[in-house]
Symmetry: C2
Amino acid sequence: MLLIGNELLSGRTRESNLHYIAEYLGAKGIRVAEARVIPDIHQRIADTVNEVRKKHDYIFTTGGIGPTHDDITAESIALAFDLPLVENETIANRIKTRTPRDSTLTNRLRMARVPQGASLIENLTGGPQGFYLENVYVMAGIPSVLRAMLPTIDIASCAPLHSCSLEVALGESHIARQLDEVQRQFPMLEVGSYPFVRDGQIGTSVVFRGTEIEQLSAAFDTTRQVLLRLGARPTSETFDWDTS
Amino acid sequence: MLLIGNELLSGRTRESNLHYIAEYLGAKGIRVAEARVIPDIHQRIADTVNEVRKKHDYIFTTGGIGPTHDDITAESIALAFDLPLVENETIANRIKTRTPRDSTLTNRLRMARVPQGASLIENLTGGPQGFYLENVYVMAGIPSVLRAMLPTIDIASCAPLHSCSLEVALGESHIARQLDEVQRQFPMLEVGSYPFVRDGQIGTSVVFRGTEIEQLSAAFDTTRQVLLRLGARPTSETFDWDTS
């Protein structure tokens, strides 16, 4: 994921799309390999796109596709692919049908410019249109618009990732060795340990992630038994076997 | 900034340190050039550190310095610098004074391991200790701990960045050309345009950022006059001249 925008790096705007997209893709069995937050600088965007599009199956970008001078993502993607920026007729016609023919139209037509050969990403909210070129999907930064665009993209699903977790009222240091053993016993799973403080009480959330529900169940039960032997009992247990 | 942790890429945890650190550094005149969210994989962390530490003045990392098997940031930084991971006596002594001498101590002492030659980052909360090596600052991922660590780091201040902004109840498309002209007139400033919807009404927030207050004031006044001529008046004006 490439999260594009000066406002994300200046502290003006709190980035909030990574979390949403990660959950959305996780349900399709797709792991986010990395995310980068980068500024609105043509060459930086282009270089980053060219670096990552060869390394990963999908690249999703957010931000910079509006009508103002600081919306430079389309230009930068064209630069990355060394393609001319052209007016997409479909997008231009949509903009024309809903805009009065004054100076606003000229500004809005900036949003119809895409790298030559790019395909449309639908946006039923009526805002800017996204586009994709090879494996690079260019979307809006405004969360509500992004959320409308995502489901219109045809993304191949993989074996879905499942997770389960348990919480215990013990600090990480008390269960670190035991969790290490569980991780070694189940190398195909990802065992995460996340400390928290709630009502002044330290606790640990242990999260198991993987594609095989049987393995997840076994790792969960093993950890549960280990904790009971330590004299602690889980204060919360969660299973996310949803395969939708 | 390197934000390290599988949980940030899986959607389990909402990343929240970037925003805080960006504001903190902005007040010192330091711009965040880029941020990367990467998983808990030794080689990925090491390679990323080695790529970015040559490009930027400071590298700040968050996450992965706790006592469990999935806390691998210290090991990964040692790998990046090709240095052995050693027990830091200062950190080890602090851990020993506040831990009972049972198996918990062994687990906690994992947090005393730093790359040889690293210096301590103070943590008055009593949690894990951070460290730095050359220009790489390794901090906790837990927001409260991170916030305690940051002010203890001696970061040179630059000419502070200031900002001002105004909001207007007009969509971006209505003022795009005018903003483009303002940006051209004030090339040393960063003029950002951010659409919003509030109470069903579309609006635009225009943000000016730069080091020179006179220029910011001039750009602000110019934009204000332009908007008044368009028949709109700013609905909100903000000046952040704070030089602390």
